[in-house]
Every structure is written in C-alpha cells, then in structure tokens.
Symmetry: C2
Subunit: 241 residues, 2 copies
DNA sequence: CTGCCACTTTGATTTCGATCAAGTGGGGGA
DNA sequence: TCCCCCACTTGATCGAAATCAAAGTGGCAG
C-alpha cells in the first residue's frame, strides 16, 4: 500500500479499527482517517494475560498504548517490597507518559487484557500536528489527576470499611456504567491487589468484605462476583453521604 | 492604549511582569509579548494572607492564577469534616482546572502569598492560539499527577515516621532547591496542616518530629524553622533508601 | 478420584497511631 | 505588666488494623 493508494482511501478507516472500542473515546478518535491509517500501519494489537507486566518502573518507554479490553493496574513499589496501586486504567484509556522517557510506574494487566500499542515518535508527531489530540490527552491527564486526588482522600482519611466500600463503588460505576441504582460485576483485582490499592492487608480487605456482606450492602459469589443491590447505600458506606 | 499602539510596543513587556518570578517557569513564559500585554491588561495581582481561601470545593471558577510567592495548599474535605491536603503549589505554579467549570478542590493560602489572576476566557483563547502554552500546562498537569501518585505511596504504605520524613524532604527540596546535601527553611504548614497532608493527627506529627530531632536527622527552632544537616539521611528515614 | 496449590476466610494476639488529657511557651492586647 | 490565647508538646490509655497462625475453598493436573 503506497502513499497514492493511501490518499485515495483517505475516507476509509483500517479494518481492524472499525469495530475498535477505543476509537471513539480513546486517542484514535481525534485522528483523521489518514492519520489513523498511518498509525495503524505501525501499531500492534496484543493480548496481555493477567499478571503480565506491560512496562516497568524506571524503564525507558518507546511505545504508547490504548487499553482495548480488561483492566490495567498502575503501581509503585518501594525498595523493601511495599507496593501501592496508584491507578486503574479501563478501555479506552491511553497508557503512557508524554514528555518523559522513563516510566515512573509499573503498568501490569490486572485481568486478561488487550492493548493496541504504537511507536512513541509517531504519536508525538501527530500530537504536534493535531491540537484536538493533545487536548484529549491533556483532558485525560487532568481527569486522572482528579481521580488520584480523590483517592488520596480515601487513603489518608477513610477507615478500612470506607476504603473497601469506596473501592467497590468505584469498580461498580466503571465496569457497569449504565445501571443507575444497582450493579453486578466481576472484581478485576485479587484481594492482594485490593489491599495494595487501599493501603490495607489482605486479611483486613477480606474481613471488611465479609462485614459488607453481612450488612446486606453487597452479595458475593465465588469470591469474585459481586452484586450491589443499592449503589447509594454502598456510597454511603464509602463515606460519601 | 489601542491596538495600533499595542502592536508598536510588541517588543516590550509590561512593567509589572518584568521582574515577575512566574514569567519564566510559569504560563506567562509561553506567551508572546503581545499576548503578555493583553493578559496583563486583565490581570490582577493580589496578596492573600495565610489561611484565606482562594477557591472553594465545588465553586464555579472564572479566573485562573499563577502563584508568585508563598505556598498554596489544595485540599479535599468530607462532609463530616475530615480533610486531606492533596497538593501544594509553589511559585511559579499555575492554579486552575482547565476544561471544567467547577473546582474539584479547595485552594487556600498556606503562608502569606501573592497571586496573579486573570479571566478564564482570555487564557482559554490563548491556549487555543499557542501550542507552547497548552504544552506547558499539559506538562505541569502530568508532573502534578506524578507527584500525586508518589504521595499515594506515602499515604498508603509508609509509617508515621516515614511520612513525616517524606514531607520534610519534599519541603526541603522545594523551598531550598540549590543546596545539594543540607538545607534550612521555614515550614510553610502548621502541625495541623502537616497532619492533614500525611493522614495523621497533630499529636503523631509532633511526636515524629521530636523523634527525628532526637535522632539528629533535623534540628528545629521556634517550631517552624528546620535545619537538615544531611538530606540523604532524611531521605533514608523517608523510606527512599 | 486424589492431592496439590493458590487464594481466601477466620481467629488470636500485638502494635502503631488515635484519642483523651495535661502541660509548656511565646506573642499580642488590655 | 500581666494574662490570655494559640500552637505545640508530652503523657496515658484505647482501639483499629497489622501480624501471626490455622483452616477452609475450589480448580486442575495426573
């Protein structure tokens, strides 16, 4: 496919992108069809199974990605092994750190995921060419900043019970965004990961989930499948009135 | 001063801006002299004394600002009064939330401060016209996101001792950036504020400062003035090797 | 079916930081 | 000058979550 052909087909979009969930909310939604074709020529779609690292803390990053399916956890680790999950990325979030060549954190698939990755320089150039693209990434960064700061309130000031309820509420509203008052979903994180997200131990997480179950705020099947009959009640348990 | 005169004086910059500390690192550094003149025509420089609110959580924000002097604390509050400081802004940081009309947090002067504020629509327009300006704000947002995530590790996984040491180390490196291995500075925050930043009570903060003093890692005069003879040692106490 | 392994739950005890309660000291106003 | 107020420190006790320990679960390879 040479340049002439590409131009003729400008109004087309690559076949793999047509049904891609990331194309609307994600970065690709800000690209022209020509840019989409070019980016697609260099992009790699791949499955990453749960537990596999996507980029490591301190590593040089030469590719950006979009999350297409599944949940990616972003974490920081201290030298003695203490770990903190600092963010979760869902489809169609952008994965990468503009303006910096070293990753400041580890990105790891929390569930089986699918990502679409592309070389840094190509996207960097497109950002320079396309204000709408820079704007979208800027906007996502600010949203992530708001989320991080909300989470700081949870980490610093909430009780274990409120932390676990906050976590479940956050997952419920992200995984199952339609349902207004009740929700049902599979937890994307193990108890250990939930502990690392909330700054708690695995035992405390387990005990608090049991308490919320006994209070009738949630029901749990097979350890991972959670039903929330009343989201407002869960949100109250999370300390958010 | 009409448009013709402004253009003639393009190579000039407004008098008040000439010695302004925010003009180089801050947003104004990305503006042409014409833009600087225009922005200056609508901007207000003002003193805000310690403890005064600049914007409130949930408030509509019609002006952005630059911090010229002093320290501004960003905080979130729960309905029952529990509070968490989620960030500190130093000169020449930008203060405001692009793309959103409600402030998601409270900004309050921690020390006596000076800020330069200007109407939202004017800066929004300049951002659209000047890629370099958008780039700078994007870059600051990503830096704040990195800082917030570092702080999440501190909040979630460090002990009280490490938290207080981390706080002192952060302040030392921000206030007194030159000195490589030792530092001396006034704490910009009260014990209560430090507690709200670290997710601790005022008593615990006080006890940990006393311990660090007894270990010889810091010396304190008049409760506020701190000297750190060996920054590396403080950083080790903060859990960062 | 059996046994193993990873994950989770539950229970007993300890510990760190919160809470409750004085006490100190410096600066400003009457 | 005195005294009051406020920010901070220090001490005693309490309690929530960590730690230590053991006992389920459930999936899966053999």
């Amino acid at each position: 496919m040479d340049v002439a052909r590409k131009d003729i087909h400008n109004s087309q979009i690559p076949v793999v992108c047509r049904s891609c969930e990331a194309r609307h909310g994600g970065v690709c939604g800000a690209l022209s069809s020509g840019q989409l074709i070019e980016l697609n020529r260099h992009s790699v779609r791949r499955e990453v199974s749960a537990g596999c690292e996507i980029v490591g803390q301190g590593e040089a990053v030469c590719r950006y990605s979009s999350v297409l399916r599944g949940v990616v956890k972003l974490s920081k680790m201290m030298s003695d092994g203490r770990q903190q999950i600092v963010g979760l990325q869902f489809s169609p979030d952008f994965l990468g750190r503009l303006f910096l060549h070293e990753s400041t954190l580890t990105a790891e698939a929390a569930t089986d995921t699918e990502i679409c990755s592309f070389p840094r320089p190509i996207l960097d150039r497109m950002i320079a060419e396309t204000p709408e693209l820079g704007h979208r990434l800027h906007s996502q960064a600010l949203q992530e900043l708001d989320d991080a700061r909300d989470w700081m309130l949870t980490l610093g000031r909430k009780t274990a019970q409120e932390k676990v309820a906050s976590f479940l509420y956050m997952i419920a509203t992200h995984i199952d965004p339609d349902s207004a008052d009740c929700a049902t979903f599979d937890l994307p994180l193990s108890r250990a990961d939930i502990g690392d997200f909330l700054g708690l131990t695995i035992e405390t997480v387990s005990r608090q989930i049991t308490k919320l179950r006994k209070l009738g705020i949630i029901t749990v099947e097979n350890n991972r499948h959670v039903t929330v009959p009343d989201l407002d009640r869960l949100n109250t348990a999370a300390g958010n009135d």
